[in-house]
Symmetry: D2
C-alpha cells in the first residue's frame, strides 16, 4: 500500500528527470538545468523520508519489540547510517 504511493512518487521524479535530459538536449540554460536537478534531489529527499517513516513504523518497531538484541542493534545502526549519509548528499 505505502509502497504503491512511493512507487508513484518515484515515477513522477523519473519523469522530472527525463525532462531535465530533454532540457539539455535542447540546449537549455545551464543554471536552469542545475535548478531542475536540485528540484529532483529535493523530491528524492521527500521520498526517502517517506520510506524511512514507513520503515520505522514497521521493521524497526518489530525489531525493537522483538527478542533478538543483535537484530535490534542492526536496525538502529542502519538508521544512524542513512542519517549520516543524508547529511552528505
Amino acid at each position: 500500500m505505502e509502497n504503491d504511493n512511493t512507487i508513484r512518487r518515484l515515477k513522477t521524479v523519473e519523469g522530472h528527470m527525463r525532462g531535465v535530459i530533454r532540457m539539455l538536449e535542447e540546449d537549455a540554460y545551464c543554471i536552469d538545468v542545475i535548478r531542475q536537478i536540485q528540484a529532483v534531489e529535493a523530491a528524492l529527499n521527500k521520498v526517502s523520508a517517506q520510506i524511512l517513516e514507513d520503515h520505522l513504523n514497521s521493521c524497526v518497531t518489530t525489531a525493537i519489540k522483538g527478542n533478538d538484541p543483535k537484530e535490534r542493534e542492526r536496525v538502529l545502526k542502519e538508521i544512524t547510517e542513512v542519517f549520516e549519509m543524508a547529511n552528505k548528499v
Copy 2:
C-alpha cells in the same frame, strides 16, 4: 560536446532510478532503497558540479569579460543562488 557527456551521465542516473523503482516493486528492504536513492543523489550532485564548471568557463567568463554590468551581476548572483540551494538539497 560537454553537453553530450552530461546527457550520457544523466541517462545513466535515470537508469539507476528505474532500478530503484524496480527494487520497490519487488519489495526490497527499505534501507537498501534509501541507500540507492542517496546514491542517485550523489550522482546528481556530480552532474550538477560538471554543469556548473562548464557554465563558469563559458557564460560566466563571457559575461564578466563583457561590458554589461547588469549581466555580470546577474550571472554572479545565480552562482550564489545555486550554491545556497546546493546546501539545502
Copy 3:
C-alpha cells in the same frame, strides 16, 4: 557518559569556529574560509549522528517497548523530521 563525549566534541568544533573567525579577522582568502566552514559543518554532522545513535538506543527503544502508542508515534515522527532536515542543511 555519552554526553561528556559529545560535549567534548562540540567544544572542539567551537574552537574550530573561533579559528574561522580569526581567519576572517586576519583577512584570509575567502575560499579557505568557506572550506573551513564546510569542515565545521562536517564535524557537526558527525556529532548529530552520534547524538541520534545514543537517542535511538535509549529514549526511542524505551518508547517502542513501552505501552504508550502516542509516545511511540511521537518519537518515531521526530526521527523522520530530523532525517528530513538533515537532507536540507
Copy 4:
C-alpha cells in the same frame, strides 16, 4: 566592510553553538539538541553563501578580467570545488 558583517554573523553562530553545548550540559532532550545543531548548520550555510558572493564580486571578477589564464582557471576551479563540497555537508 563586508568582512565585519561576516565576522559579526559568525560570532552570533558561535554564541548559538555555546548555547547548544549548554543544552547538553543541562541534559536537554536529544532531538532538541540535534535540531539546534541543524539550525547552526543552516546559519553557517548562509554565511558561506555571503562569503562566496563577496568573493565572486571581487577576486573572481578581477581574475577573469585579468590576463593570467592560469589564475582564471584556478579561481573557477575553486568555485566548482566548494559547490561540490556544499552538496556534501
